[in-house]
């Protein structure tokens, strides 16, 4: 599913976060969004899933501008999306198993035993076993993230939207998740939008990378474009230096 973002603007009070984002998410490919903390990455994807309304601009999915849809009409689009929130957003009144089973129970006619099979399978994909009976409060941060991932992929969605899927995971686990994203893309042709602070991981999984800065896309291109760019802002970010034109905002 191709997603075209055109001239997207959003402010919160006097804090203008998105200043005209133009970005195309290519169908069937992985696009990674990078940028400084607080630059509006999470805000951008919340527009794509209809949680926030832009002040101006459009998001075109299947030829229709989804920013004009009412919340109710979003349901049809969201059924194709699997979303991982930055803080996982697990239902804390449900066990891990119930969390992952939730979308299956709500949207498929599968039998309870079949659902349990899918739940186990999805949890195994993210490297979790035997945690179905635990509650989210009993999990480590990285485990929560992976349960969130398992829940996001439970319905085998066509579009994955992952807000920092590997932040807080150890390097080995991060690579496992990167492989998961690459495999679903390769085998199932899934379109993925991934927000990441992990530069090596980004180069590994991305077909396209977009870097946000001051509410705009400063550079959009392939990993090679990013490796070869002379843009001082992008260079400083990729080389993770504190000195340079990029400033840490107070």
């Amino acid at each position: 599913m191709q997603i075209d973002i055109k001239g997207l603007k959003k402010s919160f009070g006097t804090n203008s976060v998105l200043n005209g984002i133009d970005l195309t998410i290519e169908d069937g490919k992985t696009t990674v969004i990078v940028g400084q903390t607080g630059c509006g990455k999470s805000v951008l994807i919340k527009h794509i899933i209809g949680l926030l309304r832009p002040d101006a601009g459009q998001i075109i999915v299947n030829g229709a501008d989804i920013t004009k849809l009412k919340r109710k009409e979003f349901g049809g689009i969201l059924k194709n999306f699997g979303v991982l929130f930055q803080n996982s957003a697990l239902f804390d009144s449900m066990t891990v198993g119930e969390n992952v089973a939730f979308p299956l129970r709500e949207h498929t006619g599968l039998s309870p035993t079949k659902i349990m099979d899918v739940v186990r399978e999805k949890l195994a994909i993210v490297g979790l076993k035997g945690v179905e009976q635990l509650y989210p409060a009993e999990l480590s941060g990285g485990m929560k993230k992976r349960v969130g991932l398992a829940r996001a992929i439970a319905l085998d969605p066509q579009v994955l939207i992952f807000d920092e899927p590997t932040t807080g995971l150890d390097p080995v686990m991060s690579d496992t998740i990167d492989n998961l994203i690459m495999n679903t893309q390769k085998h199932l042709g899934v379109t993925s939008i991934v927000i990441s602070h992990d530069i090596p991981g980004t180069f590994k999984i991305a077909r396209w990378i977009a870097m946000l800065y001051k509410g705009k896309v400063v550079l959009y291109g392939s990993p090679d474009d990013f490796r070869n760019t002379q843009d001082p802002i992008v260079r400083q970010f990729l080389e993770r230096r504190a000195e340079g034109p990029l400033q840490v905002e107070a």
């Binding site: 899933i49 919340r71 969201l78 929130f85 803080n87 957003a89 697990l90 804390d92 709500e106 949207h107």
Partner: protein
């Protein structure tokens, strides 16, 4: 700082404006959740869970408050009625006040403290930890999933709890009157039955149903729109109790004026 008497009017004026806005939000939450009652899917399990939480788990505090309210009321009225030698009116007057006023209102206030605050805290936590957003991204209508079952079960359970309150209250007053004040038990019962109309009880239960709606809608509304982390959740819970309690007393006045 100097004390400006005018400030109190400014304060009250400002509060009235936010109150009106808030009432609009609360009312629209009610309409939405009620409308979604008739739209599938029907989630029986969520509904039963809330029935248990609102009804079953409130029964003990309702029992306690009901018994003592009945007893103290019998004691208080006995002083006055004694003067006229009209002790036989103790039973009927306790029963009437319980059925018409005290049963629904006190049950409503007790349940507000327990259930309204819990609903606000629970939904508020879900809001600030993005669980409500997560529901929405899974194409679940959060109002239907979270608010509708709570409102419906409160509307059903508050009258049930009120019946319990009235019943225990009357038993409490019976014990007071018969064993402590030495009235005739059979007389107490027959006088009470003679004086209390079924209509008194029905209207009391209707009030209770309205209070149930108020408690759940206000609690859910406050939680659903909670902001700013833990502090916001705490505030939502407190405000839910204050707003529901005041609304119950105001609604009680109008229902009494209209229905009796």
């Amino acid at each position: 700082m100097t004390f400006r008497p005018i400030a109190i009017f400014e304060y009250i004026g400002a509060r009235f404006t936010t109150l009106l806005e808030e009432l609009g939000g609360i009312f629209s939450t009610f309409l939405q959740s009620a409308g979604l009652l008739f739209v599938p899917p029907f989630r029986m399990r969520l509904f039963l869970k809330q029935m248990e939480f609102v009804g079953v788990e409130s029964s003990f505090i309702v029992l306690l408050t009901g018994a003592f309210t009945g007893m103290v009321f019998a004691l208080q009225t006995s002083y006055a009625f004694r003067l006229f030698g009209a002790e036989n009116l103790i039973g009927p007057s306790v029963a009437l006040s319980l059925a018409r006023e005290l049963g629904p209102v006190l049950t409503g206030l007790m349940v507000t403290g327990r259930v309204g605050s819990a609903m606000a805290a629970e939904l508020g936590t879900m809001k600030v930890t993005e669980q409500i957003d997560a529901l929405y991204t899974m194409s679940i209508n959060p109002v239907q999933y979270l608010i509708t079952p709570r409102v419906l079960s409160s509307i059903i359970m508050l009258p049930m709890l009120t019946i319990l309150f009235d019943f225990i209250g009357i038993i409490g007053s019976y014990f007071m009157a018969v064993f402590l004040l030495g009235l005739n038990g059979n007389r107490f019962i027959s006088d009470t039955i003679y004086m209390v109309d079924l209509k008194d009880i029905y209207i009391g239960l209707l009030k209770a149903a309205v209070f149930g709606a108020i408690i759940a809608v206000v609690g859910c509304y406050k939680g659903y729109f909670a902001e700013k982390g833990a502090e916001g959740v705490g505030k939502a819970a407190t405000q839910a109790v204050v707003i529901s309690s005041v609304s119950i007393l105001i609604a009680d006045y109008f229902l009494t004026a209209l229905l009796f």
